[in-house]
């Protein structure tokens, strides 16, 4: 069986070739920056977390096992998420906010995000409070269950669920506001 490009790159990464690591960086750093920016707001902090993440990848590449196409990306993304969470915990004003925000119940209708750009969605996510955002990211993008999130963040499971619901409501609200301002512009 012929090796895929990904597998060849992985082999070279194992050999700790500088060019291979540069390639990895070129290929994935944009996406990883996005992943990291979901969690971390400060620009310098994103820089630091990504730097640490790459160092960690470099150190632990030996423990990485190829499990089919896309597994490299999944692995490096996981490292960035772990490092981001670590950073949030260490430098913390990181706290789980409870009951600080009164979120009005949203109508049953689903927010339509099709016409909203990625950048705008990203901006909205980044305006969520740290605690909300972290839980939201883990649940939506990392597809963790509330039980898993509770374990990762060291909080109660129902706390994770309530954080998530608040985050979701807040985001839905933001989307609605955004749409209204958009339509208002055109009228």
């Amino acid at each position: 069986m012929e090796e895929s490009k990904e597998q060849i790159l992985i082999k070279r990464l194992h050999l700790k070739e500088e060019t291979a690591w540069k390639e990895l960086f070129e290929a994935y750093s944009g996406n990883l920056t996005y992943v990291c920016s979901r969690y971390i707001i400060g620009q310098d902090d994103v820089h630091d977390v990504l730097q640490n993440s790459f160092i960690k990848m470099f150190r632990s590449i030996d423990s990485f096992e190829y499990r089919g196409s896309g597994s490299l990306r999944a692995w490096i993304t996981r490292i960035v998420v772990t490092e981001s969470l670590k950073y949030l915990k260490q430098n913390s004003d990181f706290k789980i906010v409870d009951d600080e925000f009164e979120i009005p119940d949203l109508p049953e209708e689903e927010p339509d995000i099709q016409e909203i750009s990625q950048t705008t969605i990203m901006k909205m996510i980044r305006t969520l409070p740290d605690g909300y955002r972290t839980v939201f990211n883990l649940f939506v993008f990392e597809e963790k269950s509330h039980k898993e999130i509770a374990g990762i963040l060291g909080i109660a499971e129902n706390s994770s669920a309530s954080q998530f619901h608040r985050a979701k409501a807040m985001l839905g609200h933001k989307i609605k506001e955004y749409k209204m301002s958009k339509t208002a512009q055109y009228e």
């Binding site: 920056t33 920016s37 150190r59 990625q118 409501a169």
Partner: protein, 463 residues
Amino acid sequence: MSNQWLNEMRRKMEDHTDDVPEGLWDNIKDDLFSEDDNDKITALPIIGNDLKAKDKNTSKFTSKKLVYRISAVAAVIAMFFIGGKIFDFYNSEEENSPKIASSKKGEPAAHSSENKNLPKRTNDLIDNDLFKENSTSNNITSNKISTKNSFNEILNNHNEILKNGINHSVNQNQNTTTDLINHNNQIAQQENVIVDNNQSINDIKDPISQEEKDFKDKFESIQKQKIAKKQSKKPWMLSLLTGNTSGSSSEQFPGYATISGSPMNVGDMFYASDDGDPFVQVVLANQNKEVEARIRHKVPVTLGVSMYYSLGKKWGIGTGINYTKLSSELRSGSDANLIKSDQSVHYIGVPVQVNYNVIKKGAFTGYVTAGTIVEKAVAGGVTTKYIVNNEVKEEKKEGLEAKPVQFSVNSGVGLQLKIVNKIGIYAEPGIGYHFKDDSSLNTIYKEKPLNFNVKFGIRLLLD
């Protein structure tokens, strides 16, 4: 509201990319692939080589990081030691040589920092040592050849063995990497050998045939010692001490003087006092002798607690509280009959400084700094001893009259080690210029407005 739109969001965002932070790859590259950078390794010879030997099997990367960590720790610790030694050195001026001898041992931290901070001086030292070595052996030869012909043979033998020894060790050095420290140590030991041999040569007087045996024995035992004493730190401490003496300042003038530098009027003293006056006793004892007054100011050492507020990655501003102790010593009179005053002034100061971080590796940050300090003398005093015939006749203590405020501008390089999350310790050698205050207080600030200083402290990092 279901979670359907969130799944949609995930799919939508999957391929999203953001602008990669500037310079990220360069930093990563520096961290991961800079082992090839030989310059850095030679800048840290001992540690670099030691660790390399130990960690050959582990990844190069970790050893590199360790090198920085360890050298940072060592350097900061060393700075503290240097500070301590300055005091020790001055406090025991009379018994210099034994003190130096004892402080030469067991000073590993100073060892490595010296090595790192003063590679140039190291080379000088080596040169000096080589030079000394030559001259000592020349002395030995010239002195002894004239008196005892038969002794020549022994000497030649000795020199040959010695040469072999040197060649041997030099070869070893070439085989290993350019290990500056080892080299230096070995040369130092060669020097010891010569000095020791010199002693033993002095011991040897008449029965030569017997001496030859003794000599060989002695040489052999020294060589054994040499191997055992590979870790001797002699040359390093020596350079530290000489390095710091130059930082202090001394004034010298004939006659008697007070610590403020003004000459004493002997005539007035005679009238004002009765026979029991210790100053008169000193003066009387020194009749027909040349007297001189010497004021010696010690290098100021500053301890501080500071807060640091970072403005971006490279720049930051800091403030805090500093404590500085200035000590000065006055000796007025002759060796046996003198007036000895020790003045110490304690300053509390508030610095404002701007830092630029030059290098950041792990917990260690190297930076350059510039700023101003406003200092106020808060306490101080002068202890005056009148010594006649090596006997303390009277001791007086006076408090500080004026408590001046002192302005200065400073610049320096610093080394900081982050110990825990927001707290780091630092050592900061630098130079400062002190503006004149109006008081009569005579300190090193006045004597030498532009001076060398070392600051140590704890820094709280704010973001």
